[in-house]
């Protein structure tokens, strides 16, 4: 296990370097000048020239990249061109928000996706199975921003059950945080649940067809025990991997959902940063997301070994 972790960390270094280099190059290839945007409506040429100088924009791109890299290695991610705030401060401000939303959404996805997937497999070809398929299909095809707005209109404006938007930390005011999380987590989780449901169903079907399940049934065990104790454990292996990877993706932020529910997470930060050509913020957030994704991949591998003992010596 230690070797696996060490090997992964070693591989992560060139990966992160390449990711940074790619993002840096792609950003500079984008048309548009950040200082034209930052200099405001007046666009005073003198101000633009001074800003370019302050941010060393006239240096060659390669020099700029290594200057940035050098700073990052010393823990300095630079400052946002748009608001002047340190990028690291922004990342630390948004990371808990994104983690909170991602965790809640995954919980919703698991809570809906896995049980429905199990039911659909167990009652394959029945009304339950077809309803679950229809549910999954709608979950996958309804766009998040539309579903979000509809939920706000119904639950917040019409019924006035939940607040329409905003964010509160779970550690500051747990009740307020939960109220504000329910709608966005449900919208995001709903789409992922469909995904999980389909995978759970197919994994379960495969396991339910296997010999040891037939043996368990032949021993006279009741169906509940067969499904929950014998089949589910084996079927869970790919599901766990999938869930951790989905969580990794959520760390990159859920732009549309964050926009609709005005949640100040990574998604909104990065989109705003791209539109404003706020180079430092884009670099910092992408690097941070890449690290998050690598960590989630590592966790997936470790969980895989925990659930499937046969892989432990491999």
């Amino acid at each position: 296990m230690t070797t696996l972790i060490l090997r992964r960390i070693l591989i992560a270094i060139p990966t992160l370097f390449l990711v940074s280099l790619m993002v840096f190059a792609l950003q500079r290839a984008l048309p548009g000048d950040p200082f034209l945007v930052i200099a405001g409506e007046e666009r005073d040429p003198e101000v633009i020239a001074r800003l370019r100088e302050i941010y060393r924009m006239d240096d060659p791109v390669v020099v700029q990249f290594f200057a940035w890299l050098g700073q990052v290695l010393q823990g300095d991610f630079g400052r946002s061109l748009r608001t002047g705030e340190p990028v690291l401060h922004l990342i630390l401000q948004k990371l808990p928000v994104t983690l909170q939303l991602a965790t809640a959404s995954i919980l919703v996805a698991v809570a809906i996706g896995i049980p429905v997937g199990i039911l659909a497999a167990r009652y394959k070809g029945s009304a339950v199975d077809y309803s679950a398929s229809a549910l999954a299909l709608s979950g996958l095809s309804i766009p998040n921003f539309w579903f979000g707005i509809m939920l706000i209109l119904l639950v917040s404006v019409h019924l006035k059950w939940l607040p329409a938007s905003g964010y509160e930390s779970i550690f500051v005011d747990p009740w307020e945080a939960i109220k504000r999380l329910i709608l966005p987590a449900f919208v995001l989780g709903n789409g992922l649940a469909a995904f999980l449901m389909r995978h759970t169903r197919s994994a379960m079907l495969e396991v339910l067809r296997s010999d040891y399940v037939r043996t368990a049934r032949a021993k006279g065990l009741d169906e509940d025990t067969v499904v929950h104790r014998h089949a589910l454990r084996n079927a869970l292996v790919p599901i766990i991997t999938l869930t951790t990877l989905l969580f990794g993706e959520l760390l990159a932020g859920a732009v549309l959902t964050e926009q609709v529910f005005t949640i100040p997470g990574f998604g909104k930060l990065i989109v705003d940063a791209v539109f404003n050509r706020d180079y430092g913020v884009v670099q910092g957030v992408v690097l941070c997301t890449a690290i998050g994704f690598i960590v989630m991949n590592l966790i997936a591998d470790i969980l895989y070994i925990v659930v499937n003992p046969r892989l432990r010596t491999g």
Partner: protein, 504 residues
């Protein structure tokens, strides 16, 4: 099935609990305002966004303010006068104002601020204060600005960010992270892309006029979502209600809608002289531009895209502005005349590219213009891109026509001089006419409004003929408020003044 039953009951239980818990207790003394964007730096000398100015209205007092009729009124300065030669502005200052850190406001502090705004390398206020040669503070209550040339726009600059005052002790620090001003509310916290929280400054010289203990500004870019938040009671008021939502908001008894023409304009800038792209009939022949302007029905454009709520315009000054020249009413659409002009120019068929920003509204404006111009024989090709690229290409002259607007300034100079004088910062089409330069340069230095108007009228007579910019419509400012919020005074600058606001 047992499992399914457990889930269903758990969900029902959760919803039932929520139903009782969710009726949000409103804090009577907090005002929550929905903004269309997240402001940029909260440093008045470096800030550039419109929404930033809305926040500054609560946070930072300025030397002067402006009324809805665009008249300057006292704030930190109680009186002001120009010397007979127009080269010295003397201001009398309040003696009872304090900064949020307890420091007193006086002429020294004002001088430190104006000097910072004029000299900070990345200050965006430099061009606004370009006419100021030096600032003096002969005594605590007197501020003297020595000018390089008479400047009729200076007073209006001091009613905005250039006239905002920060505590002198904080000037060298990280102002944007924690601005310390002298306004009626002080800075508490900011979460980027989410909220800015201000708290009442009890020692403010006018504290009794401010009814709320806290003000929270929340950035909610989606107009539908912003309105939904107002309807659900999450917000008390919002700025920039979308025209398409005005009718439904007006029909909602829990809300009220206020509106007024804003100070800016929306139009199409034509490349008449900036590089290769200007070498085509639209750029080179004023008759083609006249034909293009005549082919557009501005009323129909407003009806199709903005529910008829935006006023058509053909001048750089907003409808109702004292500087509008009545000799040039908004022209009626005239396709026959447009065709005749094209024929006279020897260009019965013209093909031209129009740059639009890639948002739904701007694209729609482009499409309506395209359809109308087509009937006169002008084939408009739309090129859509995001704003940063549009600005860049426009400045570099890589455009034939560009759909662009201006948020407007209280002084007429700000709406015209930078756009059509040959050295103007915003003259992206590089339009150049020495006569226009002379008239508009002169207008800047004349303090008498009637004399100034003569220069603007004379310049307009030329510009209406040569049409380097085809003005289309004015964006009405729409505010929506919960009906229990009283005392809001709407101003064409679109800013939110917090004095007098209260909840019934």
């Amino acid at each position: 099935m047992k499992l399914a039953r457990i889930w269903v009951s758990a969900a029902a239980l959760a919803l039932a609990t929520l139903h009782f818990g969710a009726a949000k207790a409103q804090t009577p003394s907090t005002l929550r305002i929905g903004l269309q964007e997240d402001p940029d730096m909260l440093d008045p000398h470096k800030a550039r966004t419109f929404v930033g100015r809305i926040v500054f209205m609560g946070l930072c007092d300025k030397l002067l303010d402006i009324t809805a009729e665009l008249k300057p009124v006292p704030r930190l300065a109680t009186g002001w006068s120009f010397s007979p030669d127009g080269l010295t502005l003397t201001m009398k200052l309040r003696s009872d104002a304090r900064f949020h850190d307890g420091e007193p406001f006086n002429a020294e502090a004002a001088k430190a601020n104006l000097d910072r705004a004029r000299t900070l390398p990345d200050s965006l206020r430099k061009s606004e204060l370009a006419s100021v040669d030096s600032v003096e503070a002969p005594d605590a209550a007197t501020l003297v600005l020595k000018l390089k040339r008479p400047d009729a726009t200076l007073i209006s600059q001091l009613t905005d960010r250039a006239g905002m005052m920060l505590s002198p002790k904080t000037l060298s620090g990280d102002v944007g992270a924690k601005p310390v001003c002298s306004g009626p509310y002080k800075f508490v916290e900011r979460v980027q892309n989410d909220r800015i929280v201000l708290e009442k400054f009890k020692e403010h010289w006018e504290a009794d006029k401010y009814g709320f203990d806290r003000v929270i500004y929340r950035a909610i870019p989606d107009t539908t979502v912003r309105l939904a938040n107002l309807r659900s009671g999450e917000l008390d008021m919002l700025e920039r209600l979308a025209p398409t939502d005005v009718k439904s908001a007006q029909g909602d008894k829990a809300l009220k809608v206020l509106s007024m023409p804003n100070l800016g304009y929306q139009g199409i800038t034509i490349n008449t002289n900036n590089g290769e792209a200007a070498n085509q009939p639209m750029g080179k022949d004023k008759r083609v531009r006249q034909a293009f302007s005549l082919s557009i029905d501005r009323k129909v454009l407003s009806q199709v895209v903005f529910e008829g709520l935006y006023a058509p315009m053909n001048q750089p000054f907003n409808p109702g502005n004292a500087f509008v020249d009545s000799a040039f009413p908004v022209p009626e659409r005239d396709v026959v005349k447009a065709k005749a002009l094209l024929k006279e120019a020897g260009q019965p068929k013209v093909s031209v590219e129009l740059f639009v920003t890639n948002n739904p509204v701007d694209t729609q404006v482009g499409q309506v213009v395209q359809a109308m111009a087509q009937e006169a024989g002008i084939d408009v090709q739309l090129r859509s891109t995001e704003f940063a690229s549009q600005l860049r290409d426009q400045q570099q002259g890589k455009f034939q026509m560009s759909r662009i607007g201006w948020s407007g300034r209280t002084d007429p100079d700000g709406n015209i001089h930078p756009f059509v004088t040959s050295k103007g910062n915003q003259n992206d089409g590089k339009y150049a006419n020495p006569q226009v330069d002379k008239l508009l340069d002169e207008a800047r230095t004349i303090y008498d409004p009637a004399e100034r108007k003569k220069r603007y009228d004379a310049a307009q007579a030329i510009l209406q003929d040569e049409l380097p910019i085809v003005y289309l419509y004015n964006q009405t400012v729409f505010f929506a408020l919960r009906s229990n919020i009283d005392g809001f005074v709407i101003n064409p600058d679109g800013l939110i003044r917090l004095a007098g606001l209260k909840r019934k």
